[in-house]
Symmetry: C2
Subunit: 219 residues, 2 copies
């Protein structure tokens, strides 16, 4: 298809597509004349991922380029491509950097992951984010021991199974790596907002003074 | 205790405490002389919450003030205080506003919550965030049907039980509402980073070409 059709089918303005092409976020089409190129389904699919990263995930363009380079590195197996792409994704909200509780948090996280038999590189972004978050909890004297963290890890393990099941609905390694990256970003607000809605239900069940037992407020 | 001791025990500089007092984020101490006030454990506890909101949650000062006003409104029962405080918390990453898929997402979310028998105000912040996130998924043609959302809702329901169990480790309604707000904010990065680590484990299990079966990369 030509650029105009790619724009129509993706809902992305032609000028934006040209910008993505210049920034190497979208692979070039197949040249048919000096001024025209032909695009395929793989361009349509890639555009979805670029929009997920840039517009919705608010990932900086340079970072998106790194993630996409990993996605299309066909010298690596699927797990390695996924790992590299995920590593390039920015971390979520980052707690305090200079935290005196960091050392204790480091040990706590290592213990948790050992107990779960998860093998993780301690330099990886989500590992650092986790340590910083546990350090922030510890520093503020909120509960963050093994017994408190373990239920969240169990929930995360279950979510990861659902995440990867969804990824495997896509066909072919390239589409799967792209989906994994996009779904990681796009399901974060789904998960966090569902958690807040569920808290409101549970709060209603436990604490509401309402006569009918129906939760009266939802944040 | 005097301001100096409050500063030492909380690890918050005296100048910052004075700023929080001026901004009405911290309730005033009990005046003992014209220039000195006495602070108690409730000030120490409130300071932790203020730090969780402002430094770690990056909540704007005006929003933090709203949340705290709800926390201390003793005319309401615990569930109502929790609901109001949570409602004032800012939403997570917000997907596209002007999304043509919004109407379909609205119906999908309503159906999901009805099936779960969750009673939620559709104007509430996390409800709006959820609709926007589902709309973004739909618009980009990623899976976001009932069958896809339900496992995340089930995980969220389980997490809410863990969350509220943790809240009930605190004694008294004021400490519980404060903890609920702080833990909601502080456990978001814990949850999101654990999800990414768990995805790496699951990806290793499913996709790694490594001989020993050990996941080789963790994002």
């Amino acid at each position: 298809m030509r650029l105009a059709e790619l724009s129509e089918r993706s809902g992305v303005p032609a000028a934006t597509i040209k910008y993505y092409l210049r920034e190497q976020l979208l692979q070039p089409g197949r040249r048919v004349t000096a001024t025209q190129a032909e695009y395929g389904e793989e361009h349509l699919r890639r555009l979805r991922l670029v929009r997920a990263l840039i517009q919705i995930g608010r990932v900086p363009v340079a970072t998106a380029r790194e993630v996409l380079a990993a996605v299309q590195d066909e010298t690596l197996d699927l797990d390695a491509r996924l790992g590299t792409a995920m590593q390039a994704l920015p971390a979520g909200p980052r707690p305090d950097q200079e935290d005196p509780a960091a050392e204790a948090a480091e040990r706590e996280v290592a213990k948790l992951l050992a107990e779960l038999d998860w093998r993780c590189d301690p330099r990886a972004t989500p590992y650092r984010t986790l340590v910083a978050a546990v350090a922030a909890l510890t520093r503020l004297d909120y509960p963050a021991g093994l017994a408190h963290l373990a239920p969240y890890a169990r929930a995360a393990a279950q979510l990861a199974v659902d995440d990867l099941d969804m990824v495997q609905e896509f066909e072919g390694p390239m589409a799967q790596v792209e989906a994994a990256v996009a779904l990681t970003v796009l399901y974060e607000p789904v998960l966090l907002s569902l958690r807040r809605l569920a808290q409101a239900q549970e709060s209603g069940r436990r604490f509401a003074a309402a006569e009918d037992g129906a939760p009266r407020n939802c944040p």
